[in-house]
């Protein structure tokens, strides 16, 4: 069916993107933060349109794209992330660049790419959507073009991104050769029906694909671009990289691995489990050594990716019910992680706008000068560490529970130990804020209204999920159910 109405929210996003571009061209004297409001309005319209699609019967576009609860989940996530990042960027960008229309346009495009990626059920479509997201990010990361570090980050990101997407494509081509199809369902069918003497090819294909998507979610050893890109990128873009871009990677992984590759779970599950272990350990160990806050958060987010991969491994080890459970837990964790990260960045951007200091040392005495920001930062970090009452506790619990259900007890244990390590460096950051005196002459000041309100709202969300994850869990469970409805055929073929 060619039902073009399925993606009206994304038309809105793309339309808003072009509108913002045109707006700057038409009114070059416009205040640059006006563009941020326009973008936020566009993202809000997108978000509202997305909400209208919640609860609709699954739609299908030519077997290439599917809109269901899973898509809706990521669509809301994308729209929300774009909205948040646009607001984060308003003052940041006004202070630093002269032209901003392209920035906001690309931000919206990246969000649209993310939604399409989560809807894709065909390799070509998924690949193009992935590149739409990546291209936008390459530019966004390097947007502060006279900042040599932003430029360097962008260069590293695009070169390594192109390299890894070549790997991914080679894997896809082998998969196509093996199965004669590029739709997920067709691939699954072909893999299930394949004859003798094809195992090596299937294995190589899948591992190349794992490398490609592993790059996207910054799984070690494909993670090395991430700290550099996070550090060099403009701060709001770092927030986007850490949340939406990572979530998009997992959207791709979930659809791909539950539907197309589920039949070959035996081939990839051990590799994913190993990746998860390496990723979480490397991320957390390296984070200890950091002095730059963005870099520390980059490594911390790598650690988070490791936790999330536990659920992916669990999909490979479980039956359909356990796999659905694991997917649901993963989606829930992504939601909690996204909220915590956004809250954290709202506070950091407010701090950075004032001081321009992105070192951990620069946070010293924040509890005395901006106690609310210090509180938000601490709460977000506690959420990352998985302390009770914050989102991270409930979501990580369910995540590891999925792992233990699938016989990956060692991995869940490693995850718990890693959370312990992570607490150490989070406490180091908090120590700077609470136990050190602020630099000379700094007194207590009010946080900026917009960012403060944003941080407060997001923080409420973090605590809500931490205390009462039920409603969100219900939503993610619906999304996971939709995912497995689509892949029921694939799982029915499991040996």
């Amino acid at each position: 069916m060619r039902d073009f109405t399925l993606f009206i929210p994304e038309y809105i996003a793309a339309g808003a993107a072009i509108g913002v571009l045109a707006l700057e061209l038409a009114l070059p004297r416009l205040r640059r933060d006006a563009l941020a409001w326009a973008t936020a309005a566009g993202a809000a319209a997108w978000l509202i349109a997305a909400l209208f699609y919640v609860g609709d019967a699954p739609g299908d576009f030519e077997g290439l794209l599917r809109t269901d609860a899973f898509t809706a989940y990521f669509r809301i996530l994308a729209a929300g992330a774009v909205l948040a990042v646009a607001l984060l960027s308003a003052r940041y960008l006004r202070d630093r660049t002269r032209a901003a229309g392209e920035y906001y346009g690309l931000l919206l495009m990246a969000g649209a790419g993310m939604t399409l990626l989560s809807a894709a059920r065909e390799l070509l479509t998924a690949y193009v959507a992935l590149e739409l997201l990546s291209f936008s990010l390459y530019v966004l990361v390097g947007y502060l073009k006279r900042d040599a570090r932003s430029n360097e980050a962008s260069l590293k990101y695009i070169l390594l991104g192109a390299f890894s997407s070549a790997m991914l494509l080679y894997g896809i081509s082998l998969l196509y050769g093996l199965t004669g199809s590029t739709t997920y369902a067709g691939v699954a069918e072909g893999l299930a029906a394949r004859g003798e003497g094809t195992d090596l090819a299937a294995l190589a294909a899948i591992m190349l694909i794992v490398a490609g998507v592993g790059f996207k979610v910054s799984a070690a050893p494909f993670h090395m671009w991430a700290p550099d890109a996070y550090q060099g990128a403009p701060l709001p873009v770092t927030a986007f990289l850490a949340t939406a871009s990572k979530a998009a990677g997992f959207a791709l992984i979930l659809r791909l691995f539950t539907e197309a590759l589920a039949v070959d779970a035996l081939e990839w599950r051990a590799a994913i489990a190993a990746l998860a272990a390496i990723t979480m350990t490397a991320g957390n160990l390296l984070a200890i050594q950091q002095t730059n806050l963005k870099r520390l958060l980059a490594y911390s987010s790598i650690g988070q990716a490791g936790y999330m991969l536990v659920a992916v491994a669990a999909i490979g080890y479980g039956d359909a019910a356990a796999a659905q459970n694991a997917s649901s837990a993963l989606l829930l964790h992504i939601a909690g992680y996204t909220l915590s990260t956004m809250a954290l960045f709202a506070a950091l951007v407010a701090h950075y706008n004032r001081t321009g200091d992105e070192s951990i040392e620069g946070l010293r005495g924040l509890s005395a000068t901006q106690p609310f920001l210090a509180l938000v930062i601490s709460a977000s970090l506690f959420s990352f560490a998985g302390l009770p009452f914050f989102a991270g506790f409930a979501t990580k619990l369910l995540l590891f529970q999925a792992g233990t259900g699938a016989g990956l007890l060692w991995l869940a244990g490693l995850g718990a130990a890693n959370s312990f390590i992570s607490l150490y460096y989070y406490l180091m950051v908090m120590r700077r804020m609470y136990l050190f005196d602020p630099p000379e002459g700094q007194t207590r000041i009010r946080p900026p209204a917009l960012l403060g309100a944003m941080a407060g709202l997001l923080l409420l969300g973090v605590v809500f999920i931490g205390v009462y994850p039920g409603p969100v869990f219900e939503a993610t469970d619906g999304a996971a159910a939709a995912l497995f409805e689509a892949s029921a055929a694939a799982f029915a073929r499991l040996p």
Binding site: A274, Q289, Q324, N325, G413, I421, Y468, P469
Partner: protein
């Protein structure tokens, strides 16, 4: 009321929020709010108790739970369970919390961040009550972490002092090591039984659904958590350092409540421990070693609070020994009485410290008997109760422990725990003599003054409890109070035990008391130090070893140093903190070093990164070939 016992935790939680939000701006920085909350908690406890007792034995435990999350096959209820053990804990926590709040009004007067101190104190009380009320291990774990967090905040209250910060960090991290074990244990138990609910787990275990090595392993992980929180060897290092916190905090957290959380946990899960092979033997062994070890170390401590800290560690060991013998009533009874007299002793120490103008080395005190009569009298009662004088509270509970050990663990353990009992009497007497008798050894101590009513009041109240609390062991006393009988008929595992005094055992117990007291009395007669000095001179090495806590901190240090041997610059930098920053920092450094090594892989060069990607693909294919092949 009993099914709404969660209100007990809600009251201090609300007080915490109110104080944290407004405390700074309230008159008197809101201390009345804290006292009010604590007093109403204390009052509400009796309402809960009456309601609980009114239902009669058949209706126990009282349960109340709501569905928290129920999606698919994953169902999670949150709620409270009130049974006899919970009631005992509630009694201890609400009473001591009340006393400590009142005491703190006087003690903390004029200290920095007065309101914040009270706020965190309420947070602690709320989490501790939540911990004992929780009907499932998950909620328990949450409360467990919160308790740790508030303890961290309170120990580090004087964060201008580096030592306080270090102590807070040490406590937090040491207990977190145990907490990770606890979490793993909880997950393992959940894996095996499919539920977090404590009663359901116990039923599953009793029905034989789980068992064998798996159960033993998960129980050991859980015990790891208990050891961390209850400062059992080798995790004990944090508790003496935690004395950096304000003294009332030590009374509440590091004597009466938080540190017994481990005991509570084991008592709560005792049926599971029983079913898990030799788990109880491990509990006994750990408790016994801890009791003996810290009893010896307490001999040579010169800081009044550190003596009490090691004494606490030792008494916690006693409780574990009783639990290890499988007698939950003895363990819980000692927990109950110990809470009162140890809180009394700590508050008394606080009173001494304040009265004697922040002198807390026994070498600088002495002769306070005259200058601080109320404090001295209360302290004497507490000391005698701790040492086990008939018929004070400590006598009865220690007697119960001896009885339990004699019945279930045999002669050797009995002999050793008796030895530990003598040590208790010994170091308690020594502490009392050096602090209160003889002549002041320091000008400030000479000018000591009795403290105000808000401080002596709680001392007197706790002294009364320390005298009489032990009598609930008698059936008649219990019935008169509305219980089904004495302590043993109220808190028990398999069947109620009526208490009959065993005169032989009581004799032994009294003999132990006498030996200890007279030993110390002879050595420090009249508060003089000459004989003790002679003893020290006779065996200086032995003394030094005891004083240095058997080099435990140093041992950690040494091990860590060996592990990181070869990284000599780390070691040399590290050596300076030999005693202060112990194994805790060491393991952190080790992890940090791993990160340091790894970070140099992150060269910043694109070709290196690309190599990692390509090599990663090759390795993945190999791994998959090996695993799937």
């Amino acid at each position: 009321m009993a099914e709404h016992a969660w209100i007990l935790a809600a009251v201090p939680a609300i007080a915490f929020l109110a104080l944290a939000a407004l405390g700074r701006r309230l008159p008197r920085q809101g201390d009345f709010l804290a006292v009010l909350a604590a007093a109403s908690g204390f009052g509400l406890f009796f309402a809960v108790l009456a309601s609980f007792l009114g239902r009669g034995e058949g209706a126990w435990p009282v349960l109340n739970a709501i569905e928290w999350t129920a999606i698919g096959d994953f169902r999670l209820n949150m709620g409270i369970a009130v049974d006899q053990i919970t009631i005992v804990m509630l009694a201890v926590v609400t009473t001591v919390a009340f006393m400590v709040n009142v005491f703190s009004v006087g003690y903390m007067k004029g200290e920095p961040r007065y309101w914040w101190y009270f706020a965190v104190l309420q947070l602690f009380v709320a989490s501790m009550l939540l911990l004992v009320l929780a009907d499932n291990l998950l909620l328990l774990y949450v409360a467990w972490e919160l308790v740790g967090l508030s303890s961290f905040l309170l120990i580090g209250h004087y964060w201008e002092r580096r030592s306080a910060v270090e102590a807070a960090k040490k406590a937090f991290i040491t207990t977190r090591v145990g907490d990770v074990g606890l979490l793993i244990g909880i997950i393992l138990l959940w894996k095996a039984t499919g539920t977090f609910n404590i009663l359901d787990i116990i039923h599953a275990v009793e029905a034989g659904e789980v068992g064998g090595t798996g159960l033993f392993v998960s129980v050991m992980f859980i015990f790891l958590g208990a050891m961390g929180k209850s400062a059992q060897l080798p995790f004990h290092v944090w508790l003496p350092d935690a004395m950096e916190g304000p003294t009332p905090v030590s009374a509440l957290i590091h004597a009466a409540t938080m540190v017994v959380a481990g005991v509570y946990l084991v008592a709560r899960l005792l049926p599971v421990f029983e079913a898990a092979g030799d788990a109880l033997l491990v509990v006994t062994a750990v408790g016994l070693i801890t009791a003996l070890f810290s009893g010896v170390v307490a001999f040579a401590q010169t800081d009044i609070k550190k003596v009490l800290a090691y004494s606490t560690v030792s008494q916690l060991g006693f409780m574990f020994v009783a639990l290890g013998a499988g007698v939950v009533s003895a363990g819980m009874f000692h927990l109950f009485t110990h809470a009162f007299f140890k809180a009394l002793l700590f508050l008394g120490a606080g009173s001494v410290i304040l009265g004697a103008h922040h002198r807390q080395e026994v070498g600088q005190l002495g002769g306070l008997w005259r200058r601080m009569p109320v404090t001295a009298a209360a302290f004497l009662v507490g000391s005698l109760a701790l040492a086990g004088l008939f018929p004070l509270a400590g006598f009865w509970s220690k007697d119960e422990i001896l009885h339990a050990v004699e019945g279930h663990r045999g002669a050797l353990v009995f002999a050793l725990i008796s030895l530990a009992s003598i040590m208790t009497a010994f170091y308690t007497t020594r502490l009392f003599i050096l602090t209160f008798l003889g002549k002041p050894r320091d000008a400030e101590a000479g000018h000591a003054r009795e403290t105000g009513a808000s401080m002596t009041g709680p001392l007197v109240f706790l002294a009364v409890l320390s005298v009489f609390a032990g009598f609930v062991v008698y059936g008649g006393v219990g019935e008169a109070l509305g219980f089904p009988g004495g302590f043993g008929e109220f808190v028990y595992l398999h069947h109620p035990e009526t208490f009959h005094i065993d005169w032989g055992l009581a004799g032994v117990s009294t003999a132990l008391f006498v030996i200890g007291v007279f030993g110390a009395g002879w050595l420090y007669r009249g508060g003089r130090l000459d004989r003790a000095a002679a003893l020290t001179a006779w065996q200086p090495k032995l003394y030094e070893m005891t004083r240095r806590k058997f080099y435990f901190d140093d041992l950690y240090q040494f091990l860590i140093d060996r592990v990181v041997l070869g990284f000599s610059y780390v070691v040399s930098w590290f050596d300076r903190f030999a005693v202060n920053d112990t194994g805790v920092d060491g393991s952190a450094t080790l992890t940090g070093y791993a990160g340091f090594l790894l970070k140099h892989l992150q060269t910043g060069r694109v070709p290196n990164y690309a190599l990692a990607i390509a090599a990663g693909v090759a390795a993945l294919i190999l791994v998959a070939l090996a695993a799937g092949g």
